[in-house]
Amino acid sequence: MTLHGHVPPEPDLVQLLTPEGVRVDHPDFPLEITDDEIKSLYRDLALVRRFDGEATALQRQGELGLWASCLGQEAAQVGAGRALRSQDMAFPTYREHGVAWCRDVDPVTLLGMFRGVSLGGWNPNENNFNLYTIVLGAQTLHAVGYAMGVARDGAVGTGEPERDTAVLTFFGDGASSQGDVNEAFIWAAAANLPVVFYCQNNQWAISEPVERQSRVPLFQRASGFGFPGIRIDGNDVLACLAVSRVALDEARSGQGPTLIEAFTYRMGAHTTSDDPTRYRLSEELETWKHRDPIERVRAYLIREAGVAQEFFDGIEAESEELAIRIRQACRALEDPSPLSVFDQVYVEITDELAEQRSDYADYLASFEGAGR
């Protein structure tokens, strides 16, 4: 035998709505969903895209320091986000604005972080949506720890729908190479924790194509650690919703972790600081535009569900309002006071920090009236 003879089969890509907007059935993942529910998903997708686009615009106008757009990944995020129950906990990276939306985190709060008025500033336990984590992969271990707590709290496998809790953690194709992500897999598998690992494979880690990280599909990693992995069409909100639901259900019922690889595409730059023309061909983007996550839902709603134009006009108007609101609110965000940097370093300020604070206050006061 040669050790290297085996060729793994090409992976299935779970899809429930084609790029053309045609509903298809998947034998393993039936999804019962009404057209009203699909309309609601459409609304999420459209508003997230609008909010995200507005943020990019605000950055261009100098209102934000940076923006990491989720353009193209709305379905992957909304599908997962809407599969969560309120007691579930989500651990995002820095790009899950669509999930934040589903968790009712005010977009303006997110903007505050990219504007630089805070380093995050929301309470993870308020909406069960953790702070954005910029260090790649670190949050996957936080999710594991949180899930250990869930298990210890007896909130797994009770059968009570309001009680059983799952943890959903996000990471990118690039981040999958970080040690932390792999340690998270190991811990989750060894203790059979209620965590769903949700990898948005958007094909790129800044300028590096996913082939730099792996020569086999990423979902396959899971099987090596002893839990299921599955690849889904990350531009198909229905597939994302359906598979996330199953995985979260299985987590809540005590069956342990799952890895979902949402196969999608970063349609924009990595962040507003990035220039993707340096490293990728525009044809690639063109191909993916045909798989746009929102267009297919729109096509479905028009063609198969007979939804009238008024609905879309309504969403359009709502988007416009949202954009105006966040633009204004973003501009109104106040800069933190210089002395605020000393607050919340510790639960109670230490003597030495209090001294630094007061020295600095005196120093600042010395300029008052001095026409600085």
């Binding site: 309470n123 336990n125 702070l131 996957t140 936080h142 949180y146 230490t350």
Partner: protein, 328 residues
């Protein structure tokens, strides 16, 4: 009610007391369960509190600290054991970028009541990575608190206070003093213990001040004793808290004695002695009759054990520095 305990037993008692007092307290680390840890500090705890409160972790330090962060977000109060000083670095990212910063990142809305216990320091004849003193890395990191005990009574009260602290605490345990004995009031109230972040004058003296912490306090006290033969009366301060530093206690002492020697095992450059020297020369400038001197490990990797006794500060090297401060 005071009993005579080793430092190891005192730490064990503190953990036990916290596990009993607060069911959100969890212990996690490598071999902390059946084995009771390689130093037996968690001896018997898994048996009494169960495998889900005293958790044998998979073998990744980043995993231990990273999952402690998640547990803290869920409302738990994890106490993590790092097996030896030299093995904390795989967790450095989680400690520096997450544990230390999340409370701040959330504008105070999430707390990180995590205690990271690290047996540290040398003098036990061990192989590489088992004798290091990495405390300065953590004391330089805003958002962390860093403490170390030098005797069983402090071991008991300071570990309880650290676990009860709502801020993350890196708790350094001087492993070569684990088996030293002392009186410990195991029934003492947490509230009655001396403040966690206060230094303590462990010997008062008039002629010069020695500042030490952890394993070096005993050595400093021996040096002070030996110095009496030269007719010198040394004050010895046990720093106890490395972040924040109780600068006031050190400065008061120097204002009295005019001379200061700081002693630690860690390499001198950018060790705790650097910070103390910098603060003291600033705040007691006119009191200093000689520069602040530092006695520490040399600026080399911790050496092979057959030469560690020469590398580590000892009574003679401390006395030599004291002599030098008197020659100014």
């Amino acid at each position: 009610m005071a009993s005579t305990l080793t430092m190891a037993a005192a730490l064990n008692a503190a953990l036990r007391e916290r596990l009993e007092a607060d069911d959100k307290v969890l212990i996690m680390g490598m071999d902390v369960g059946k084995l009771g840890g390689v130093f037996r500090i968690t001896d018997g705890l898994q048996k009494d509190f169960g495998e889900d409160r005293v958790i044998d972790a998979p073998l990744g330090e980043s995993g231990i600290i990273g999952s402690a962060v998640g547990l803290a977000i869920r409302g738990y109060r994890p106490v993590c054991e790092i097996q030896f000083d030299g093995f904390v670095y795989p967790a450095f990212d989680q400690i520096v970028s997450q544990v230390a910063k999340i409370h701040n990142r959330s504008l105070g809305q999430v707390r990180m009541p995590i205690t990271i216990r690290i047996p540290y320091g040398g003098g036990i004849g061990a192989v590489e990575h088992h004798s290091e003193s990495p405390e300065a890395y953590f004391a330089h990191t805003a958002g962390l608190k860093v403490v170390t005990c030098s005797n069983p009574a402090d071991a008991f009260s300071m570990l309880r206070q650290s676990i009860a602290s709502d801020d993350p605490v890196v708790f350094f345990e001087p492993k070569r003093r684990y088996w030293g004995k002392g009186e410990v009031d195991v029934t003492g109230l947490l509230a009655d213990a001396p403040q966690l972040h206060r230094a303590r004058v462990v010997r008062s003296g008039a002629d010069a001040t020695l500042v030490a912490y952890g394993p070096m306090v005993a050595t400093a006290l021996q040096a002070a004793k030996a110095a009496t033969e030269d007719g010198r009366d040394l004050e010895v301060i046990d720093l106890r808290s490395l972040s924040p530093i109780d600068t006031g206690t050190v400065v008061s002492s120097v204002q009295k004695t005019g001379r200061l020697v700081v002693v630690h095992e860690a390499s001198v450059t950018l060790g705790m002695g650097a910070e103390i020297a910098a603060r003291v020369q600033e705040r007691a400038f006119y009191s200093l009759e000689a520069p602040v001197l530092r006695v520490g490990g040399f600026d080399t990797p911790y050496p092979a054990s057959r030469v560690e006794e020469e590398w580590l500060p000892d009574v003679d090297r401390i006395l030599d520095a004291v002599d030098r401060t008197f020659s100014f």
